[in-house]
Structures are given as structure tokens and as C-alpha cells.
């Protein structure tokens, strides 16, 4: 019987300790609320807004300063995409240096309207040609504007990617 009484009070004391622990954590939050607030006052701080590293806004094809990208036209991303948001249109063309016919990308079509930002295409790409951009202001007045061509006009394959 004494054991039961002991257990009863122990339970109450443990519960109180648990509650106080919880309150300590939230108390810490409110004490440092000014510094730690994670909400962004978005339209006001539009110029200085820093998105998080892992934020997924859109798929972008990276270009360097010589207007070269790393996409070989292998279509791995197109296959990986569960929604069919990517269409790779490629052609066999003659390489000006070696004179051999080679598969090359013509247009990298990206349908932003269908993309769910699942990141699968980026994981699938063997040459790390694409990555997730941080832009999130995608509102447009017409749906057709959401279909984008990602390779810039006149861009070439970066050297050394295929070796």
C-alpha cells in the first residue's frame, strides 16, 4: 500500500517536472523572441531577402561566363521526372573540332507549371548541369509563360564534361 502511495506521488512529481521542462523551452523562446523570429516580413525586405540553402524554387540550368553549360543531352532528368515537366530535345550534329557526329542538346524545355519541386531530376543528372534555383516569384498572366527554355541562345557544352 505504501508502495502505491509512493508511486502516486512520484508520478505527480515527474509530471510536474516534465511540464516545467516544457515551459522552460518555450520560456527560452519568448525571452529571445526578438532575435530568433524566423518569419520574414516579405514584401518589405524583398531586396535583402535571403532564401534558405535547401529552398527549391525552380529548376535552373547553370551557365558559366562563356555561355557554356554542362548538359550533354542524356535525357536522364526527363526520364526521372515523375510529372513529365522536362523535355530534352536533342540532335546529332557534327562537332566542329573533331568532325564526328555527336548527340547535342537543342532545347531544354521546362514546364514550371507541372513541376512539384521534387528534386529527382537534379539527383538524376550525371553531370550536375541543373540545380534548384531560389527564385519563388513565379506569378505570370498567362500559362504559356510558365513553359521555359533553359539553355540560353548560342550556349555550348562546356569542355571536359564528357570525358
Amino acid at each position: 500500500m505504501f508502495r502505491a502511495i509512493y508511486e502516486y506521488f512520484k508520478e505527480i512529481l515527474l509530471a510536474i517536472r516534465g511540464l516545467i521542462n516544457g515551459m522552460r523551452i518555450t520560456g527560452k523562446y519568448i525571452a529571445h523572441a526578438r532575435k530568433e523570429i524566423i518569419t520574414q516580413e516579405y514584401p518589405d525586405n524583398r531586396d535583402t531577402l535571403q532564401m534558405f540553402d535547401r529552398f527549391r524554387g525552380e529548376v535552373v540550368l547553370l551557365h558559366n561566363e562563356n555561355n557554356e553549360h554542362r548538359c550533354t543531352g542524356c535525357s536522364a532528368c526527363e526520364v526521372a521526372c515523375p510529372n513529365g515537366s522536362i523535355e530534352i530535345i536533342w540532335a546529332r550534329r557534327e562537332d566542329p573540332e573533331t568532325g564526328k557526329k555527336k548527340k547535342q542538346i537543342e532545347t531544354f524545355v521546362y514546364h514550371l507549371s507541372m513541376c512539384t519541386m521534387c528534386n529527382l531530376c537534379i539527383l538524376a543528372c550525371p553531370t550536375d548541369a541543373i540545380k534548384m534555383g531560389h527564385d519563388f516569384e513565379h506569378a505570370v498572366f498567362d500559362r504559356s509563360q510558365l513553359t521555359k527554355v533553359l539553355n540560353r541562345p548560342g550556349s555550348k557544352l562546356e569542355k571536359g564534361v564528357e570525358e
Partner: protein
């Protein structure tokens, strides 16, 4: 130094001097009613803003911060919006009860604040059974909740109302018992006298351990009684849409909403009056200088300071603890709060018998 008795009396004398006794009394009543209605509305507006802001900071958000300075006018805007909304009534609702429910809740909440002493002589209704009256009237609010749930003809509303009924029936006991513990110490039920007994120290300090236990038991039980989180089962949003006021809109919804926040104030005010010395300033032993400085702060400020502290504590509870399930809720009351309360009562009785209090 700050005594409102003479001021209140002079207003009364002035009215009685100008008009015949009947008219003067009627005027006095009207004045009191107007003052309390204004207080009711202001309390609601301020508390809603404070609640939203404090809640936001607990969750590392900003909260309302656009309308007016730091968002202070947000609740005014919300109130205006609610005023302009169309009052939708459900076709199959029981019209009379449906319309009556918000008023019963408001009435219960308003009656209880009329007993709260804000400062010396600043109390509308000082009866000798004050605490008993408060316990009796504050539980009237549940009638409004039950009516609202029943008359809306909506399953969520009904479940919410039934939960509220079960909750109040259980927790009313703990509220009563914890207040009874304090009555043992104070020896009176009249609120103004309870405060007088704390002139030489608040009960939470004078009453040793039992008073502290009673304070927390009272706080827990009365938070449950006014359906505030973590005991907000009657309006559990994730389960019951909005609980008992699912079918209410516009002004009638605003009545429920206001009553909820004013009830929070009432609970804090009673806790302040009974445990924290009401409007009595904080005194430390016999440090005459320190005590004089404390006396300089007006009692009404002391009162609101203490009430805000208790309200903050309640918000802290709400935004820290998860909501209880209905069986956990009843278990907490019947297996823990009630027995603890009874033990505390006996303990206090022994203390009082030995004359160790105050």
C-alpha cells in the same frame, strides 16, 4: 492614499442630491452598467491582441504587426469586420435557444467581473458571500455553451458542448475545493475583506505550502473550466471544426469569443484577489523605505500588474502544453486534482487549527 470610496460616494451623493431617489438609483445603475460594458469590450480587444502577439512570440513568429502601431489596431479592425458580417442562422436550428446562448455566456462573464475589486472602493457589487457567488455564477456560462451546441443542430457543436459539460461538472469541484482551502485561511467569503486580510502579506506567502498548492490547483482547474488550452476540448479545432460555436457567425460569434477572453481575465482577477493580495502593494517585512515606495504605486496598477502576470502564465501554459484527450482530462481531475485538493484541505485545516497561518 488612493481611496476610491470617497469619490464613488460623492458621485452617489451628487446624483441623489440632484434627482429623486428612484431616478438617482436608476442613473447609478446605468452608470455602472455602462462602465462595465465598456470595460468588457476593452478587455476583450486588448486581450485578443495580447494573446495573438504572445502566442506568436512563443512560436517564433511576429503576429499581427501591420494595423496601427505594432498591430495594436488589429483587433479593432477585426471587431469592425465581425460587426459588418451577415448573421447567418441555420435553417433547422432552434431559433430561440440559438439566439439566447451568446447572451447567457456574456451575462455570466459580466456578472462575475462585477464582483472583482479593482481598488479600494472600486467594486460594483460587494456581497458577503462573494466567493460562493463567483463559483456559482461562473459555471452558468456552461448553460450557454450547452444551449449553443444543442440548438445549432450540428454534430460537431453538440459533441463540443457535451465535452464542455463533462469538463465543467468535473473541474468545478476542484475550483470550489481550492477556493475553500483559501477560505479556511481567510475566514471570510467577502472579496473586499479577503483583500484586507492580506495587508500584512499575500496569502501565497503567508499561507505556506498549502496556499501555493491551492494556487496551482485553482489555476489548472479554472483554466479547464473556462475551456482554455490545454483544456480546450469543446472547441478543439483539429477535431470539431470550431466546437460549440461552429454555426455562429458575425456578432454572435464575437460574443462567444469575447466571453472567452473576459473569462480568462476573471480567472486571473480572482486568483489575484484570493492568492496575490488583490490591489495590495507588495511589502517586504519591515523595510519601511521599500514599502513606502511600493505604496506610492496606485493600487489599481498593482491589481492590473498582478492580473497580467497571471494571464501571461496562463498563455504560457496554453502555448506550451498539448491538448488533453477527453479521458485524460477526466483522469487528471478525478485521480489527481481532486484527491490532492482534499489532502490540501485537510492539511490547511490542521494548519489553521494549530494557528500557524498569517
Amino acid at each position: 492614499m488612493y481611496d476610491f470610496t470617497t469619490l464613488v460616494q460623492s458621485i452617489g451623493n451628487f446624483l441623489h442630491g440632484q434627482f429623486s431617489p428612484g431616478v438617482a438609483t436608476a442613473l447609478e445603475w446605468t452608470l455602472v452598467i455602462l462602465v462595465y460594458l465598456a470595460l468588457y469590450a476593452i478587455l476583450g480587444l486588448v486581450l485578443v491582441y495580447v494573446e495573438r502577439r504572445v502566442c506568436a512570440f512563443f512560436q517564433l513568429r511576429l503576429g499581427p504587426n501591420r494595423v496601427g502601431w505594432a498591430g495594436t489596431a488589429q483587433t479593432v479592425a477585426d471587431a469592425l469586420k465581425l460587426l459588418l458580417k451577415e448573421p447567418v442562422t441555420v435553417n433547422k436550428a432552434d431559433k430561440l435557444l440559438y439566439n439566447l446562448a451568446p447572451f447567457i455566456i456574456t451575462l455570466a462573464a459580466l456578472t462575475v467581473i462585477s464582483l472583482v475589486p479593482f481598488a479600494k472602493g472600486l467594486q460594483a457589487f460587494d456581497i458577503n458571500i462573494g466567493l460562493l457567488f463567483i463559483v456559482a455564477v461562473s459555471s452558468l456560462g456552461v448553460v450557454g455553451i450547452l444551449l449553443a451546441g444543442w440548438s445549432s443542430n450540428n454534430k460537431y457543436a453538440l459533441i463540443g458542448a457535451m465535452r464542455s459539460g463533462a469538463q465543467i461538472v468535473s473541474y468545478e469541484l476542484s475550483v470550489g475545493l481550492s477556493l475553500l482551502t483559501m477560505v479556511l485561511l481567510t475566514g471570510t467569503l467577502q472579496l473586499s475583506t479577503i483583500i484586507e486580510t492580506q495587508a500584512n502579506g499575500w496569502w501565497i506567502f503567508k499561507g505556506h505550502v498549502p496556499a501555493i498548492i491551492a494556487f496551482f490547483l485553482y489555476l489548472t482547474a479554472s483554466i479547464a473550466e473556462i475551456n482554455r488550452g490545454p483544456f480546450d476540448l469543446p472547441e478543439a479545432e483539429s477535431e470539431l471544426t470550431a466546437g460549440f460555436h461552429t454555426e455562429y457567425s458575425g456578432l454572435k460569434f464575437a460574443f462567444f469569443f469575447l466571453a472567452e477572453f473576459v473569462n480568462m481575465f476573471t480567472v486571473a482577477a480572482i486568483a489575484t484577489t484570493v492568492f496575490l493580495g488583490g490591489w495590495m502593494p507588495f511589502h517586504l517585512g519591515d523595510w519601511a523605505g521599500f514599502n513606502a515606495v511600493m505604496d506610492f504605486v496606485p493600487p489599481i496598477l498593482w491589481f492590473f500588474l498582478k492580473v497580467s502576470a497571471v494571464i501571461f502564465l496562463m498563455m504560457w501554459f496554453k502555448w506550451t502544453f498539448p491538448r488533453l484527450r477527453i479521458d485524460q482530462l477526466l483522469k487528471l481531475e478525478w485521480k489527481y486534482l481532486m484527491p490532492l485538493n482534499l489532502m490540501n484541505l485537510v492539511f490547511t485545516a490542521i494548519l489553521v487549527y494549530l494557528g500557524w497561518h498569517g
